[in-house]
């Protein structure tokens, strides 16, 4: 041990207590959380707190947050195992909306499949799938207005697809080709879609949540009617910016919906590393006085209903809502990840809350609004749509084929107008 008091000349050891009564009787130990199962072990879901479909109460949207502190510890579910919509959260949705949602989720999955394959073929540098999490994005998007502003993180491609952002623009961005709307400046999937009211993506986590809150504050202080919604992963809730976002959202009653997508895994760290074993992520809302819901994220109807409920509160000047969307990341974090190194490979297929596409399909079929034949036809149509769009995008160019934006454009948009440095350096670079 160094002697901190060398310059004062005082003895430190003399003041240290030797009173045995003040000592701990047992040695301290540090808890390092571990997931219930690792590769080679059987998946174990016994720790999951799952409510029965239809079992959780639905407070009226004007009920104060303090009167619903039980909800973050429960799980709002609508669809039961047979595909029947149950309980007070069952939204009264037109089957057309359900079919639109099913279509967008299926399209998202096909898009993911093709873009993953394109990355493996060397046509792009990177990709991230959202397999199993399609409802989290698509149901939220359809429950909100086109004018509402979205601040997603990187695994909500379903938002763009649900809002009919052109697939070709997404692909052009992924390929960094000559028609890349972001001119080759962003790695694949870091879209920006102002025309569709979706914010620019970044790899820095949690920052955009404060921005979503600020955007909502701006809407409120301008007397506007629009609200905003943000998405953040379970892992990133550990960032200080998440805390700041909740404080600001609560203090100013910002008309914002804060979605935590708990897909159980942050790259290789299971949700317990972010604190999920100590309390549900939704329960973090309680300390801020925010209404908070924990929702089955693989249940299209539950996500839709919860989003609608939160939006109604926000639009009535009742402020922000925190929603934990409980789901499972069925594939790796990204094309740079290998989940077989840290979790059992059967964990995904055995996820007790099923697959969002299958569950909505079963429900639609159950209520007589869908059939296997329709499903098959839609599937074929979407496969063709994605394949045709991919051909068009690849005809424009893929990564590294030289058919990209001119490198001289890399000096644009650093500022609204370039200063002498950009101009001089562009010249120096030979453009």
């Amino acid at each position: 041990m160094p002697t901190p008091a060398k310059r004062t000349g005082k003895s430190v050891s003399a003041s240290v207590s030797t009173d045995a009564k003040r000592r701990n009787s047992v040695p301290l130990y540090l808890k390092v959380p571990e997931p219930p199962a690792r590769p080679g072990e059987s998946p174990d879901f016994s720790h999951l707190a799952l409510s029965e479909a239809g079992a959780v109460r639905r407070p009226d949207t004007d009920v104060p947050a303090g009167e619903m502190r039980d909800l973050p510890y429960l799980l709002v579910r609508v669809l039961d195992d047979e595909g029947v919509a149950c309980g007070p959260w069952s939204p009264n949705i037109n089957p057309d909306v359900l079919r639109t949602g099913l279509r967008a989720m299926m399209l998202t999955r096909h898009f993911d499949d093709r873009m993953l394959r394109a990355q493996r073929q060397g046509k792009s540098t990177f990709y991230m799938q959202s397999t199993g999490e399609e409802a989290v994005a698509v149901a939220s998007a359809l429950a909100l207005d086109a004018e509402d502003m979205f601040f997603p993180t990187y695994r909500q491609q379903g938002l763009y697809i649900a809002r009919n952002y052109p697939l070709i623009d997404m692909m052009n961005q992924i390929y960094s080709n000559a028609n890349d709307p972001l001119m080759g400046r962003q790695m694949p999937i870091m879209y920006s879609a102002r025309t569709h009211n979706i914010f620019s993506l970044a790899g820095n986590l949690a920052l955009h949540l404060n921005q979503a809150v600020g955007w909502a504050m701006a809407s409120a202080l301008s007397g506007d009617t629009k609200i905003s919604a943000g998405w953040i992963g379970d892992g990133a809730t550990a960032e200080g910016d998440f805390h700041a976002a909740l404080v600001f959202a609560a203090v100013y009653h910002a008309p914002v919906i804060i979605n935590i997508v708990n897909n159980q895994w942050a790259i290789s760290s299971y949700q317990g590393i972010a604190g999920g074993d100590e309390a549900p992520f939704a329960a973090r809302g309680i300390g801020y006085g925010l209404p908070a819901l924990r929702v089955d994220g693989n249940d299209f109807l539950a996500v839709y209903a919860a989003t609608q409920w939160a939006a109604e509160r926000a639009r009535a000047n009742l402020g922000a809502t925190l929603i934990e969307l409980f789901t499972y990341r069925a594939e790796g974090h990204s094309t740079s990840d290998d989940p077989s190194r840290y979790r059992p490979s059967e964990e995904g297929p055995k996820w007790p809350l099923g697959d969002p596409i299958e569950r909505l399909k079963t429900h639609l079929t159950k209520i007589g609004e869908w059939s296997d034949a329709q499903h098959g036809a839609l599937n074929d149509e979407l496969v063709k749509t994605v394949r045709d769009t991919q051909r068009q995008a690849e005809a424009i160019g893929t990564h590294g084929t030289g058919a990209g934006p001119s490198p001289k454009t890399m000096f644009d948009d650093v500022y609204k107008e370039p200063d002498w440095r950009m101009l001089r350096q562009r010249q120096e670079a030979g453009f």
């Binding site: 914010f199 970044a202 921005q211 701006a218 200080g240 500022y415 609204k416 002498w420």
Partner: protein, 337 residues
């Protein structure tokens, strides 16, 4: 024309902008009802209403993050970080979003925020109320960095910064709030009222960014300065008798390279003075730029007079502060070479 100190000039700039532009909104710690710990926003909430000027939680990351979101919505937020020493929790928001949003979205999104923050020493603030972190921001492309040295400049530059469509870090030399401090700690505190730059128009006016100001013309040596050091350099020139040309940069990014180049080419000598620590300080960049552009006109090596490479010590403030004696000594020394 009314006489204003720097606080009054800043207050006037924000008052004018709140009146002119309904998208301007001001918030930060203690800035609302109370009017800020340095009184820069005094009375603004009363005049313009609670949603135009309000208090925020003690969360610099939250303040800047919310401001960015408001900017994306279409507002022009002006936020106060109570001391530049406390800006670090906001660095991620500034570097990773504010600075790069326009670029990463290929011009789809931008956020025209202004981040005001008192900086620098001279008030016995110790190591947590005295720092000069400007070079952390000049290093980040996409941010602009503005530092006024007089009430007149403070108002004109702040208005231009608020109207600028890029994010601006607006650092206010807090020791200059009440008077033109030149580092002379004896003989009473000088007030702005006797200084010509305390005459500030009550109405709207702009001072362009990227325009340095030659505050003293001279033929012997160019002194590149900003903030409090402008007044220190002027005092040093008077004390030493050296005919120094004192260039107040006013805006570090974008930098008025032309004025710098012309001056150094004329004098052939260059001294850079800043209060921030020396290593990787903005003086390092200035030194490199001057060397690159004026090498064949330089009579001698460039000198830097700066804060020492230590934290800002409370009880040794004047031994740390690069005051007029050190600057005058550098002027005399450079003239011998």
């Amino acid at each position: 024309m009314p006489t204003m100190n720097m606080i009054q000039a800043l207050n006037s700039a924000m008052d004018v902008m709140l009146g002119r532009d309904p998208t301007v909104v001001i918030f930060g710690e203690d800035v609302g009802y109370f009017g800020g710990v340095f009184r820069a926003t005094d009375g603004l909430q009363k005049t313009h209403g609670k949603t135009r000027c309000f208090d925020s939680p003690i969360s610099e990351g939250g303040i800047v993050g919310a401001a960015i979101g408001m900017g994306v919505y279409g507002l022009r937020p002006v936020v106060e970080i109570q001391f530049a020493d406390y800006i670090y929790p906001a660095i991620d928001q500034l570097v990773s979003t504010a600075a790069r949003l326009r670029y990463r979205s290929a011009g789809e999104y931008w956020s025209p925020i202004t981040v005001r923050s008192p900086y620098g020493g001279g008030i016995f603030g110790g190591q947590t109320h005295s720092q000069s972190p400007e070079s952390l921001f000049t290093h980040v492309v996409g941010l602009k960095v503005v530092i006024p040295s007089t009430p007149y400049d403070a108002k004109g530059l702040l208005i231009t910064s608020i109207e600028d469509d890029d994010p601006v870090i607006f650092l206010e030399p807090k020791r200059l709030y009440s008077g033109p401090f030149s580092g002379q700690t004896e003989g009473g505190v000088k007030q702005w009222s006797n200084h010509p730059a305390s005459e500030v128009p009550e109405d709207y006016f702009r001072i362009p960014l990227e325009k340095a100001s030659v505050v003293r013309e001279g033929g012997d040596v160019t002194v590149l300065v900003y903030g409090t050091m402008v007044h220190v350099a002027l005092a040093a020139a008077a004390d030493s008798g050296v005919d120094a040309e004192v260039v107040d940069l006013r805006t570090l990014v974008p930098l008025d390279i032309e004025t710098i180049e012309n001056s150094v080419n004329k004098t052939g000598r260059c001294i850079i003075v800043h209060e921030a620590t020396r290593t990787s300080g903005f003086g390092a960049e200035l030194s490199a730029v001057v060397q690159e552009r004026c090498f064949f006109k330089l009579e001698t090596r460039i000198r830097r007079v700066t804060g020492w490479d230590t934290p800002y010590p409370h009880a040794f403030e004047w031994q740390y502060f690069p005051g007029p004696e050190r600057v005058a000594a550098a002027m005399l020394e450079i003239m011998e070479t």
